[in-house]
């Protein structure tokens, strides 16, 4: 095979050589040559989304559920700008994406040409890196570097902007091995002395906690396996952020639930009262720390992270370890075992944690007349646990309830928009997951407001026979916003409810899929079973209690031990200084 090819051929060849199986995209004038090449081959599957934002989120779902980079192909101008939210989302949540955009021909750049946008300028702050390729000879090298950068170090989205004349012109193809990837080589091995210091802390801790996050998932299945070994050998309690759910099994003995703003009482009290904190692939996000100067005041802190800029960003730590989770945990366990795997007795600490657990912070008031949203999730969980299941979510109360009431025993099974909190993420993400796992059960736990933001993607689901289950907790409210207005703004519900909601069952029929509506708790199990049994996409309209609040909740600007547990504790709980925070 000659190494001289057109730019468009180079794009497709580079994708093949990178092992790409699926591209999520939407055509337009500036990418027609690439689409022509896609037409001529069968190795790479193209999924036509209905909106470029959907392509980016679908690629995120694909990436998070497989550990491989997600690939997006869109046209110049509006195609590129529509994908910006998805790239920002991927940047915040460390998801590897390779986004290819068409651009107007090089000789027209800067002239306000038709569908011209300064794509690299617009996406510079929302990608890990981006390139405008002006020369067909550079194209293959740049695409290979793009994959390398997206997947090495802290993963993230990259964008490659390809002018149309570069797609038509011929140039030399280089294989991935020949590409100049060596200049980007983040460090993955932790500093030995720092790891030894961490092990010493493992040995000396009396009230330890393992605080784990999305970095464990990013690092791959070996990191999750090693984390499980660490938890088993130390017997330490373990909590995780929203992004890390599944790295350690929710059914495991060390599990004390998610931490943070809507985390469990026991997890947050453990974080607050510990004397040794082992932060493994989490980034001390403000949803975790609450009030910074009251955050876990009495603990020595170890932080393992591949990105040096995550360390000491919000919280000063005592033992920073820059490296890949799997590599660092392997070395940590080896040193720990070499030194005889000795630890303090932590049973008193566990006894304390059990007392906190006995508070049963997730209790809610049951009802026989209306479906409580928590109940709906509990039933969904009960009827699907143990299945080959993947769950995506939208953003809001339902997202938090899903995190609280569903259990994940494996990594890469839970896909949610954590850092950016993008309403409209879940539907396309569920499609991307289903593309990657055609035989598995894929459920998007949604709120009706979020769901409407990218519902056009049901067309994609129907076209490609992707049997995604859209489980919508319909409270006819922008529930999370309404909750904050109740707690912070004197119950002035300014524009936080949805009037004129569609009839979701008819909507489902219009899309050519199945619609199910359920508003009676007595019917819920059967309705969920009907959804699961249906061999195709389903829109499930679960009509729930309208004014339910999500608890526990650490109000903005408060410390972990100032958690709100239920309605009774909410009066005047959030001061004016907390109100300015989001």
């Amino acid at each position: 095979m000659s190494t001289e090819m057109t730019g468009a051929e180079i794009v497709v060849q580079a994708l093949k050589d990178q092992g790409v199986e699926v591209v999520f995209g939407y055509p337009g004038g500036a990418v027609l040559p690439i689409y022509d090449e896609i037409f001529k081959q069968n190795e790479i599957r193209h999924i036509l989304v209905r909106h470029e934002q959907g392509a980016a989120h679908a690629a995120e779902g694909y990436a998070r559920s497989t550990g491989k980079p997600g690939v997006v192909l869109v046209t110049s101008g509006p195609g590129a700008t529509n994908a910006v939210t998805g790239m920002t989302d991927a940047l915040m949540d460390s998801i590897p994406l390779v986004v290819l955009t068409g651009q107007v021909p090089t000789f027209m750049i800067g002239n306000d040409a038709f569908q011209e946008a300064d794509t690299v300028g617009i996406t510079r702050p929302c990608t890990k890196h981006n390139w405008l390729v002006r020369d067909t000879d550079q194209l293959a090298d740049t695409i290979h570097r793009g994959f390398h950068v997206a997947t090495h170090g802290r993963p993230g989205p990259v964008l490659i902007d390809i002018p149309k004349d570069v797609q038509f012109a011929t140039g030399t193809y280089v294989a991935p091995e020949q590409a100049r990837t060596h200049t980007y080589a983040p460090r993955t091995r932790g500093d030995r002395a720092a790891i030894e210091a961490a092990v010493e802390l493992l040995e000396r801790a009396e009230r330890p906690v393992l605080y784990t996050g999305g970095g464990v998932i990013n690092s791959g299945p070996r990191a999750s396996a090693l984390l499980r070994e660490l938890a088993a050998e130390t017997g330490f309690p373990l909590t995780s952020t929203l992004m890390g759910l599944g790295a350690y099994p929710a059914s495991g003995p060390a599990w004390i639930g998610m931490l943070g703003m809507h985390g469990t009482y026991e997890a947050n009290m453990t974080m607050h009262g510990c004397d040794a904190m082992f932060c493994i692939g989490a980034r001390f996000d403000d949803r975790i720390t609450g009030k910074l100067d009251a955050f876990s005041p009495g603990s020595r802190k170890v932080h393992v992270d591949i990105d040096p800029s995550s360390i000491n960003k919000n919280i000063r730590v005592d033992v920073p370890i820059v490296g890949d989770i799997a590599e660092v945990l392997e070395e940590m366990l080896a040193i720990w075992r070499e030194r005889g795997a000795k630890k303090r007795d932590v049973s008193a600490w566990w006894k304390q944690i059990e007392e906190w657990r006995a508070v049963k912070c997730l209790t809610y008031k049951a009802s026989t007349s209306t479906i409580k949203p928590q109940y709906a999730i509990e039933r969904l969980e009960a009827l699907t646990r143990g299945m080959d299941r993947y769950v995506t979510t939208e953003v809001g109360q339902h997202q938090m309830w899903a995190a609280q009431f569903m259990g994940f025993d494996e990594p890469n099974r839970w896909m949610t928009s954590g850092g950016l909190g993008t309403m409209g993420y879940g539907t396309p993400a569920s499609i991307g997951v289903q593309v990657a796992h055609p035989e598995s059960l894929v459920i998007n736990v949604a709120g009706e407001a979020s769901w409407l933001m990218n519902m056009q993607e049901m067309g994609t689901a129907v076209q490609y026979r992707l049997p995604v289950k859209q489980f919508i907790l319909n409270n006819e409210r922008l529930g999370m916003v309404r909750q904050w207005q109740q707690l912070l703004h004197g119950e002035r519900y300014s524009h936080s409810w949805s009037e004129a909601l569609p009839d979701f069952v008819k909507l489902a029929e219009a899309f050519g899929c199945k619609g199910i509506k359920c508003d009676d708790p007595a019917d819920l199990d059967d309705a969920i079973r009907e959804m699961l049994a249906y061999d195709g996409p389903v829109i499930f309209d679960c009509v729930v209690e309208k004014h339910e609040n999500c608890f526990p909740m650490i109000p903005s600007g408060k410390a972990h031990n100032e958690m709100l547990l239920g309605e009774a504790s909410t009066e005047g709980a959030i001061g004016s200084s907390g109100a300015v925070l989001v």
Binding site: V120, P125, H129, L132, V149, G153, Y184, P308, S309, R316
Partner: protein, 190 residues
């Protein structure tokens, strides 16, 4: 008017520093950043500073190694020690960045800035401007019967002082390059 009559400022480097006093716990650091000279690299660095709310006191950039397409960006920034550490880490993780050296942390280094200072005056003032320029080691690079352009390559503090000296003597305009810096001694920065 002599330099000694000027108000002392905040810096230990000069008796007559006129820079604004830094808020307590803020430090001024000079960072030297070696980058691939690729399109957009400067926009990336500046975007990092504006996007994350860091300060730039001065920034200079130029290609320093033509063959390997490397540029050196020298940034003078201020912030709390924690913010300075963040800036360092944030710069270092950028894909086109080869290395970041915090010269202020490393210690002995040389900083220079170049300024072109245009002064228009006649009579006594003109004579005084020339005398001051001589004292401050500024060179006259353009002259008319009513004006001078002085070139001064000095630390930023000294350039500040020179400009203040020229102000009452007919200062018209100033162009400054921002700081360039290297380590003292034979070791390279990276």
């Amino acid at each position: 008017m002599s330099p000694m009559t000027l108000k002392p400022g905040s810096s230990a480097q000069s008796a007559y520093n006129l820079r604004s006093t830094l808020p307590e716990s803020h430090e001024r650091h000079t960072l030297s950043v070696l980058v691939d000279n690729e399109p957009g690299v400067l926009a990336r660095v500046i975007g990092l500073f504006s996007g994350r709310g860091y300060n730039i006191e001065s920034l200079t950039v130029a290609e320093t190694d033509h063959a390997s397409h490397l540029s050196r960006i020298t940034i003078v920034t201020t912030g709390t020690p924690q913010v300075i550490d963040q800036i360092h880490a944030q710069l270092e993780r950028m894909v086109p960045v080869h290395g970041v050296t915090d010269l202020t942390v490393l210690g002995a280094h040389i900083e220079r800035e170049l300024a072109l200072v245009k002064v228009a005056s006649t009579g006594e003032k003109r004579v005084e401007a020339l005398r001051m320029a001589d004292l401050m080691q500024a060179r006259c690079v353009d002259v008319t019967l009513e004006s001078f352009v002085f070139e001064i390559a000095q630390t930023s503090d000294q350039i500040d002082a020179f400009i203040e000296l020229m102000r009452p003597l007919g200062l018209l305009e100033v162009a400054r390059t921002g700081v360039a810096a290297v380590m003292r001694g034979k070791e390279p920065m990276e």
